[in-house]
């Protein structure tokens, strides 16, 4: 095992990530055996549908966890972004791209608020995100009068184009011969690469991870830690805003008062991928693999005729086991 670990490529990618990929493959194999209809291009498309918005959420929360913080408000905030901007879209004649920017802007507002309260007012991140979760839910609901909000369909002449961000329907020889191209995956990968670059190659990312590891030492190095801590939440806010666009791109409608469960899944994906809850260690690649595992799990569990409940149980168990193994192996090392 140790020799395997020392192969340059394995070292470069990280052993843990390779194991996670293996788990992903094993799961795929297992579901293929358990369900006759699982090996199917459309299954992948529909699993990916779920992976897009979850992916952006998880990427966002990865930055926050990197600082040693936590954000429990991402799910409801994502819904709030989608609801408010969707309402504006349907009530005004603004083009859809403006509303997409508004969605991201609302995400940034919440990110700024959370970040400001955590970095400057020193409120524990857990509590402030609890509060902003309530506020996001309530605000979205008040804004629309507790109404469901619908984004335009793909057929919509003027505004439907934004759905091509999520998936592009390539029509072949006959109108029924449709191939779906997962454009959302491309977007997710591009954003993930950008995130990876920010986290690993820029000053911002460096300081975010360093302050997650030892905030006081970074502060005494003359670094504006408050700014960078807040920045992590703002980045998270941007990604939550983007997530909201991909959510409505896949599911069209959003209801106020919802979104809690996506917090848990996004955090679970990030942690599964090797991001440490204590801060300082974060992996974008790992987060993406974690998201894919959850997405595959949810599609697979549906495919074998079970309810989402099983997915929740299994996801919870996987995270507990993955993190325990990580902790035990690190304890052995020291």
């Amino acid at each position: 095992m140790d020799t395997l670990k020392n192969i340059p490529i394995v070292r470069k990618i990280g052993f843990n990530k390779i194991v996670l990929c293996l788990v992903l493959l094993i799961m795929y194999g297992m579901f293929s055996i358990l369900s006759d209809s699982f090996v199917n291009y459309n299954r992948i498309i529909s699993a990916l549908n779920y992976a897009y918005f979850l992916g952006f959420l998880a990427l966002g929360v990865t930055f926050v966890i990197g600082t040693g913080g936590i954000d429990f408000s991402i799910g409801p905030v994502m819904f709030c972004c989608a609801i408010v901007s969707g309402q504006i879209l349907s009530k005004s004649s603004l083009p859809v791209w403006v509303c997409m920017i508004i969605a991201i802007f609302i995400g940034v507002v919440f990110g700024c608020f959370n970040g400001f309260m955590v970095a400057y007012c020193k409120v524990p991140p857990f509590i402030i995100s609890m509060a902003s979760m309530q506020i996001a839910k309530g605000a979205a609901s008040v804004f629309t009068g507790a109404q469901i909000v619908k984004w335009p369909m793909a057929q919509d002449q003027t505004n439907g184009w934004f759905r091509n961000l999520v998936k592009y329907r390539l029509i072949g020889d006959t109108p029924r011969d449709v191939t779906i191209i997962p454009t959302g995956l491309i977007c997710l990968i591009i954003v993930a690469i950008v995130c990876a670059v920010i986290l690993n190659k820029t000053k911002t990312g460096r300081y975010i991870l360093c302050l997650g590891s030892n905030k006081e030492a970074v502060r005494l190095s003359g670094v504006n830690v408050k700014k960078y801590e807040m920045l992590a939440y703002v980045i998270c806010g941007i990604l939550v805003g983007i997530a909201s666009i991909f959510f409505v791109g896949a599911y069209t409608t959003v209801q106020p008062g919802m979104g809690d469960q996506y917090n848990n899944e996004a955090i679970a994906a990030a942690v599964m991928g090797g991001t440490s809850m204590a801060g300082g260690i974060a992996s974008i690649g790992g987060t993406i693999i974690g998201v894919l595992i959850i997405a595959l799990l949810q599609e697979g569990i549906l495919a074998i005729g079970l309810t989402k409940d099983y997915q929740l149980v299994v996801t919870g168990l996987i995270v507990i086991i993955a993190v325990s193994i990580d902790i035990i192996s690190r304890r052995k090392k020291n």
């Binding site: 936590i70 309260m117 007012c121 020193k122 409120v123 524990p124 857990f126 509590i127 402030i128 609890m130 509060a131 902003s132 979760m133 309530q134 506020i135 839910k137 309530g138 605000a139 609901s141 008040v142 009068g145 507790a146 106020p256 008062g257 809690d260 469960q261 848990n264 899944e265 955090i267 679970a268 942690v271 809850m277 204590a278 309810t307 989402k308 409940d309 099983y310 997915q311 929740l312 149980v313 996801t315 919870g316 168990l317 995270v319 507990i320 993190v323 325990s324 902790i327 035990i328 304890r331």
Partner: protein, 325 residues
């Protein structure tokens, strides 16, 4: 300065909380005359019971410097499991109640094991059990809602545990259980080794270990207490609202944790009281019942509760900053 010492003894945070509580009461009573009715008080109590049990329980993990996010989905899960056995399998009600509490204890043990033995961050471990119990609840009941016996049905007696009908008047005797729980857990916290060690662990875990305190055991105990009370909360919830639907409960834990924090439990652990927690609970449930009476649409409640939470924490932070300066 006799006055000051009394305040000091009770704790400033509690005095403030009590003040806010009274202000809210006066405000709602003035704003809407129907709020002053006895029946409103009864329904206020209905919301208080389950939040109170949850919050009393979750105080203990919070005091160890941890947290238990699984109480909300947990209580629904336990009530579903117990109710399913009673309603669909014909088990006697008392056994169903027992199962609900036992289930809570088992999940509490699991949490404690994950936190104390596996050394997982409490956030993460209980986040996972939050997901797991949410799933398990539905699985236990095959995805159906469970209507606990009520009205004149056989087994509906258990609802009298919380609301006894004498003649035409309902008496909220659930208060007795809540008060009893507060008194017992206050004694446990302040006058027994369990409570002392829970506080010690929250204050300085390493030091506690070096004093020869079995840290693992008492950490697990804290989570078991939390699970046990989540089980009781499940029963209280079933008694107040009869029908339990799967998929609920996410977000309930925030009411409980928020109540504890408003009541002065330190999020870092080591400091807090059960009586403070119960004051926080009353504020939470008062907001929940009171706000609809002043003709606020339900969605405003969430915003207001969010703001109240922020204000409570800010007061705490400013206060502790002043103390340390």
């Amino acid at each position: 300065m006799n006055n000051n010492s009394i305040i000091k003894k009770i704790g400033m945070q509690k005095v403030i909380t009590l003040g806010i509580l009274l202000l809210l009461l006066i405000f709602f009573s003035l704003a809407n005359p129907t709020f002053r009715k006895y029946t409103t008080f009864l329904s206020l109590m209905g919301y208080t019971y389950y939040i109170a049990f949850m919050a009393i329980g979750v105080t203990f993990p919070l005091l160890t410097g941890g947290v238990d996010l699984s109480v909300g989905t947990g209580l629904i899960c336990y009530a579903l499991a117990g109710g399913y056995l009673v309603v669909y399998k014909g088990w006697p009600v008392w056994l169903g109640l027992l199962i609900a509490v036992l289930f809570g204890v088992v999940i509490g043990l699991f949490n404690g094991f994950a936190v104390a033995v596996l050394d997982l961050p409490p956030f993460l471990a209980t986040l996972c059990t939050c997901m797991i119990t949410r799933g398990l609840g539905s699985i236990c009941s095959n995805g159906t809602g469970v209507p606990w016996p009520n009205g004149s049905a056989e087994g509906a007696w258990f609802r009298n545990l919380f609301r006894l009908k004498v003649g035409g008047v309902s008496i909220p005797i659930g208060i007795i259980w809540v008060v009893l729980a507060v008194v017992i857990m206050s004694i446990v916290l302040n006058h027994t080794r369990t409570g002392r060690y829970v506080l010690s662990i929250g204050s300085n875990k390493e030091a506690a270990k070096l004093c020869g305190i079995n840290v693992v055991r008492y950490q697990i105990t804290a989570y078991v207490i939390s699970g046990f009370f989540a089980g009781l909360a499940g029963i209280a919830f079933a008694a107040s609202f009869a029908t339990i639907q799967p998929g609920l409960g996410a977000g309930f834990e925030l009411d409980a944790i928020g109540a504890a924090i408003i009541g002065g439990v330190s999020t870092a652990g080591g400091y807090g009281t059960v009586t403070g927690t119960i004051l926080g609970v009353l504020i939470m449930s008062l907001l929940k019942t009171g706000l609809p009476y002043i003709d606020l649409q339900a969605n405003w409640q969430q915003i207001i509760i969010g703001i109240v939470l922020i204000v409570a924490v800010m007061i705490d932070i400013i206060r502790s900053r002043r103390v340390s300066a």
